[in-house]
Symmetry: C2
């Protein structure tokens, strides 16, 4: 993973000429590309941890599994939000961890948490490092007394398929497994998770669980939290072992307390996940709708009355026009709104025909499989493009929310207006990519010319959108999470009693507050 951006540096994408034109003509982005500083020039804080603590850490995880090198610390600083990347490209990793520890087992994680709690060392669990909401940025100040240091708990060594129960279709997997590797291990049994978020190539299973991830095929496979039937978590107070049955009436479902807990309540060390057979057939196709509203009505009909495709995504007029999903496939100058509908299963003809009927009835025009194939090819590539845009002097960032169907038009307008108001004349694109019977998500991509302080420029726009989302009754995040960037807005959404409930759990499970301090818990 590129330390200053996304993905394999060999796959870095040059900006296509139409995008350069767009930047120049629409956004006024003209300057020459500015590269990131060299890795060795990135500024780090002095290591705060003394030799005694480092030795104790090595005593648990093994000497080779405690890293304090410049590169290791840079690579574990922050996540992959645009502000994160802007800071990193400028050479600022001043909130990097003091050390990186790589445990190999639940027992090692438990012992490390016990040690760090005793020594008051903050612990930031690190999976793929793909947080886009400040989930990985350590808060050194603590409540009252400062921490003795910050450790990134890199779970990449915990990457095994521990067991597979074919009859129950449950696989036990370790949290440090990256999604492609998990899919490879499951494919050997003919199974898949079906979880394909945009971060798929780098994100880990533990991160999916801790941040309530939702993938591009969520209509068919559900969200990641729907897949978790059991989990083990280590906390400074001891171990939590949850999930004896798919569902239970034995009190509140505490699996849901750890799902979405972002490393602030415990470290997930094992996941029991529902898996499904690898689909024999996969077809993705495109449809064109005259307007976003008509497209949304079609998606709603499919979500409420079926048949529900496996992948279902609707781009608004702007996103369709800019053509992240291959504009030429739409014909006719890219007018209207593109829907991508994907069908996966043992046999997809019936679902495809049934859904096609619903889409056509709602005013959709079939575009065949070309737009579907184009979407499939590019489904994980947007973050690569971002790096080139950042270098070219444009800020590009995404944000997302969700609400019930009847509130969607108001939420859509409110977020767009907030972005236009805050950024002058940005390009604001939106799509619906996760649908439920009662509502859906909205995912916005914003491109704007960088001003002199692009980090603050975006922070201002972000604050405006969070206010707009709250005002329109949306949730602060549908699948990115809370991290540090959404913490205050999250507190508002949760209300004071909800905040107190979370704080109470945090205080009991993590009495010295060392787990990912500053993340999630307001």
């Amino acid at each position: 993973m590129l330390w200053s951006g996304w993905g394999d540096p060999a796959l870095a994408r040059e900006l296509p000429e139409p995008v350069r034109e767009l930047l120049r003509d629409l956004l006024g982005v003209r300057g020459p590309a500015v590269p990131a500083v060299p890795l060795e020039s990135v500024r780090l804080p002095e290591t705060a941890l003394d030799g005694r603590v480092l030795e104790s850490l090595a005593g648990i995880a093994g000497a080779g599994h405690v890293l304090t090198s410049h590169e290791a610390r840079v690579r574990h600083a922050r996540g992959k939000s645009t502000p994160d990347l802007l800071r990193m490209r400028a050479g600022d990793a001043l909130d990097a961890p003091d050390a990186v520890v790589l445990p190999g087992s639940h027992a090692e994680v438990a012992a490390l948490l016990e040690l760090c709690s005793r020594e008051r060392v903050a612990v930031v669990p690190f999976g793929g490092g793909t947080s886009v909401v400040g989930g990985l940025t350590p808060d050194r100040s603590g409540a009252g007394a400062a921490f003795a240091g910050v450790v990134a708990l890199d779970l990449s060594r915990m990457n095994r398929l521990v067991g597979f129960d074919a009859e129950s279709r449950v696989a036990e997997l370790e949290p440090g497994l990256r999604a492609p590797e998990a899919e490879r291990l499951l494919a050997a049994h003919g199974m898949t998770l079906g979880h394909f978020p945009q971060s798929f190539e780098y994100a880990t299973l533990g991160g999916f669980a801790a941040a309530r991830s939702s993938g591009q095929a969520s209509a068919g496979y559900g969200r990641f939290d729907d897949m978790v039937v059991g989990l083990t978590a280590a906390t400074p107070t001891g171990t939590l072992e949850l999930g004896r049955a798919p569902r239970s009436a034995a009190g509140p479902d505490l699996r849901h307390l750890l799902l979405g807990s972002e490393g602030a309540l415990g470290v997930i060390t094992s996941l029991r996940l529902r898996v499904r057979p690898v689909p024999a057939e996969k077809v993705y196709e495109g449809w064109r709708f005259p307007t976003f509203r008509e497209g949304a009505a079609a998606l709603r009909a499919l979500a409420q009355d079926g048949p529900l495709p496996t992948v279902l995504r609707l781009s608004d007029e702007t996103e369709t026009m800019v053509g992240l999903a291959r504009p030429d496939a739409l014909g006719g100058g890219g007018a209207g709104c593109l829907v991508i509908a994907g069908y996966e299963g043992a046999s997809v003809a019936a679902a495809r025909a049934g859904a096609g009927e619903v889409l056509a009835r709602h005013g959709g025009e079939p575009l065949g499989e070309d737009p579907g194939r184009a979407w499939e090819r590019g489904r994980f590539s947007a973050p690569y493009l971002r790096d080139s845009l950042l270098a070219a002097g444009a800020t590009v960032e995404t944000l997302e929310t969700a609400c019930f169907w009847s509130g969607l038009p108001r939420l859509y307008d409110a977020v767009r207006l907030a972005l236009l108001g805050a950024l002058g004349s940005p390009l604001v694109m939106c799509h619906v990519s996760h649908v439920y019977e009662t509502g859906a998500s909205l995912y916005f991509t914003v491109v704007t010319a960088q001003d002199g302080d692009p980090v603050e420029q975006w922070a201002k726009a972000k604050r405006a959108t969070l206010e707009a989302i709250a005002g329109a009754g949306g949730t602060v995040s549908h699948h990115h999470g809370v991290g540090r960037d959404h913490r205050e807005a999250y507190a508002q959404e949760l209300g004071p009693v909800g905040v107190e409930a979370l704080r109470a759990v945090k205080a009991r499970l993590d009495p010295r507050g060392v787990l990912n301090p500053g993340a999630l818990i307001p």
Copy 2:
């Protein structure tokens, strides 16, 4: 509702002659029927609440909404488990509440909780009074100091359909609504919840949510907790307002902290529920399988690969033989195992044909719609039959659990063995009635001759089954809940760290511990 048993006394069922024969020949139950004592002879404790507190309660809920009559107190004592009924029939209501308060709004509930917390009066939320796990039995001792008294918070006045969002298919309903009335109100909009547990005729929406209920049509409509997209709860600390979107990544899903909280963390005062169109077609049919194991394999195939019927239920050999579901419809002397498959929707032919193919492929023999109709007619009637059995000198009780598919045979054997070991030669029947991709529930019905102390006789059997369930890796309850009867086993299932997490939330939201003391929280 009959105070000493179940349902409308006018619908009380005489024991059919074959059941009398079975009791006599198989279980040795011979004695003459023993009726319950008359209502006026039921023994109650002295009212512990003084006039000042009663006046304060009336000041909030209105003078006509604070009841202290003998009948009101008897009717709010305990739930409807067999031990509850055995005690009530014998005239013992010594743990009845001191008063019954009927609030009319969220604001009144909030004010009552504030008052009761200040005065240290225990509050037991009361919906339909149908708990079968001791969820309604007040614990007067408190932790340390005894409570000043116990109030049953009867929510029956909060019985409105507050709003209906047709576009989002979300209805806002009050918690005191009984299920049939909720269905009637929704039917006026062409909608249904599709939630039909055996307690349907009396149970309330608030109770369904607080106890994580699951209905007979859970395969098609989901569990009740799947229907809850938002809720409001009053706590002594303030109000919780949860659910801005169908799903969110904004931290742990705290809706799941209130769902299953059994009145111990807060009182649910409003529910936003996902509703669906009233199905145009409904067909229930029967299938016969040679063995329970083959039937279970068929159910698993439907749950994992579809098409999934709306209702799916498999009786074991004993239950099929005894024929709670009309033995003559099976033909051939009632051999084998009965499956009831029900299909509901705009059009059911395709699902029925598809599921029929799967059932036949797994060895099922179609029995047509007669067994389905018989099941539909009798689906809520078992509790009526129980009253006659109790009077005749037989104990009949149910218990349930769930686990993953691969563990089901072991769990089934373990529970049966425990019951046989504890009760000598009882009749033990079982069915699978809730299926998931990764597992299923087991629901046991036990009939045995009463010995001299039937309450203790059953308590011993229950302890043995809870140990057997834990040993076989099942959950302490799939849809009955925890209450007081499962509290210790629940603590074991949750583990010490889980217990601490729950206790921490309880202490923060209900600092004086007045909410349903003794229920749920170990």
